[in-house]
Amino acid sequence: MVGSNRIVPAQKIVSPLGNPALQPEDEKAMRKNLVRKALEVLQAYLDEQKVFP
């Protein structure tokens, strides 16, 4: 892995925080959860690169 120390795997390359298969409200909820996860990861201590699946 190159680069980032804090990594949250997202949806797809073509829509990291989106999913067209979902209804818009569900897609937005999914996006909010992923972003919330990212905010939690920002608050995590780490001493080396980590992926937070």
Binding site: I13, K32, L42
Partner: protein, 347 residues
């Protein structure tokens, strides 16, 4: 008869140690320090007609002024060739050597050679502009290094074809030269693969970039009062791409205002990125830069604030060193703007 000039710091010039690092540049026709070694190697072909000595701190603290002063001291001697150092692992000395060599090339149009250890910070500053012989980290191997510097210098002076870094002992300068090989590329790569499969040594023709490790930032504290910024390398830009960010191998980034925006309106943005099919992001840019949910979370107090601009560039076939610079600039901007955390969405 080759007339060479040598640049030395206060230590190698015999004037003293750190206590004399503030000495301004001066010239001597005496054979001090490594001058003797250079003269020995040049033998009948030439000699060092003048040696310039300057304190490392004087130079490093006044690079432009010191370079001019060195130039003016050297000019009357009309040298054919300039040697500087070698600096081994001394950082300030290397900066001076690199600057003096560069000056000799551009102002006197003469070849110039210096020497540095591979970890010397001066190496990356000057390797593209100046021939730098690879040295060890101490002056123990002075004679050997002087030999290589003189050999390369005289080759350059004679207009000879300079071969590869390995042949001459200099650090690669980032130049590509076309060569006719005896075997076609396909055969060479298969041979390489066979060696690798057999566990035999092989040499790659292209060096892989070395990625460094960055220490993780400490955890974000007080998320509920933190200003969080959104950054992306997915190439999202306002319609018209006002900052003309390239769609690949980017050299620029943009900062785009989202003050009071609850969402990103697809009619205001486009995607300038040659590496992925952007149709879904163009339909709804929040799928890349999640302004909609971040704004909600800001309202609900989960974060202190969503930063009022998002930063964007195109992360496709980019040059690592260029992106490192852009990243540093973006980080500086963000820090100035009071941002304490970033969510970077990458495609």
């Amino acid at each position: 008869m080759i007339r060479a000039v040598l640049y030395l710091n206060q230590f190698f010039g015999g004037l003293g140690g750190e206590d004399k690092a503030d000495l301004p540049a001066r010239l001597t026709e005496e054979a001090v320090g490594p001058t003797k070694a250079f003269n020995a190697v040049l033998g009948d072909r030439g000699r060092v007609v003048a040696t310039v000595i300057c304190g490392d701190n004087y130079f490093a603290e006044n690079i432009e002024k010191a370079t001019r002063e060195v130039r003016d001291l050297i000019a009357p001697y009309k040298p054919d060739l300039l040697f500087a150092g070698p600096a081994f692992n001394a950082g300030r000395y290397a900066i001076a050597c690199g600057a003096v060599c560069k000056m000799a090339q551009s102002e006197f149009h003469i070849p110039a050679v210096t020497g540095m250890y591979r970890e010397n910070p001066g190496l990356d500053l000057y390797r593209r502009d100046v021939y730098i012989i690879e040295t060890g980290d101490t002056a123990r191997f002075m004679a050997q290094v002087v030999g290589k510097m003189a050999a390369l210098g005289t080759k350059l002076l004679g207009g000879e074809k300079i071969g590869s870094p390995a042949e001459n002992g200099y650090f690669s300068r980032g130049l590509l030269a076309n060569e006719v090989a005896s075997k076609i590329g396909a055969k060479r790569v298969v041979d390489m693969l066979l060696h690798k499969l057999r566990g035999e040594p092989f040499e790659s023709e292209v060096a892989r970039p070395a990625y460094d490790r960055v220490r993780p930032a400490p955890p974000l504290k007080n998320i509920r009062s933190a200003r969080i910024a959104l950054v992306t390398d997915g190439g999202l830009v306002p319609k018209g791409n006002p900052d003309k960010i390239e769609m690949a191998t980017a050299t620029r980034y943009g900062r785009y205002d989202i003050t009071a925006k609850d969402t990103l309106d697809p009619s205001e943005y486009e995607v300038n990125h040659g590496g992925y099919d952007s149709v879904l992001v163009r339909q709804d840019p929040n799928r890349l830069v999640p302004v909609d949910v971040m704004r909600e979370m800001e309202r609900e107090g989960e974060i202190g604030a969503l930063h009022d601009r998002f930063y964007s560039t195109t992360g496709l076939t980019c040059i690592v060193s260029v992106m490192t610079e852009l990243g540093k600039k973006i980080a500086e901007n963000l820090k100035e703007e009071g941002v304490s955390g970033v969510i970077l969405t990458s495609t």
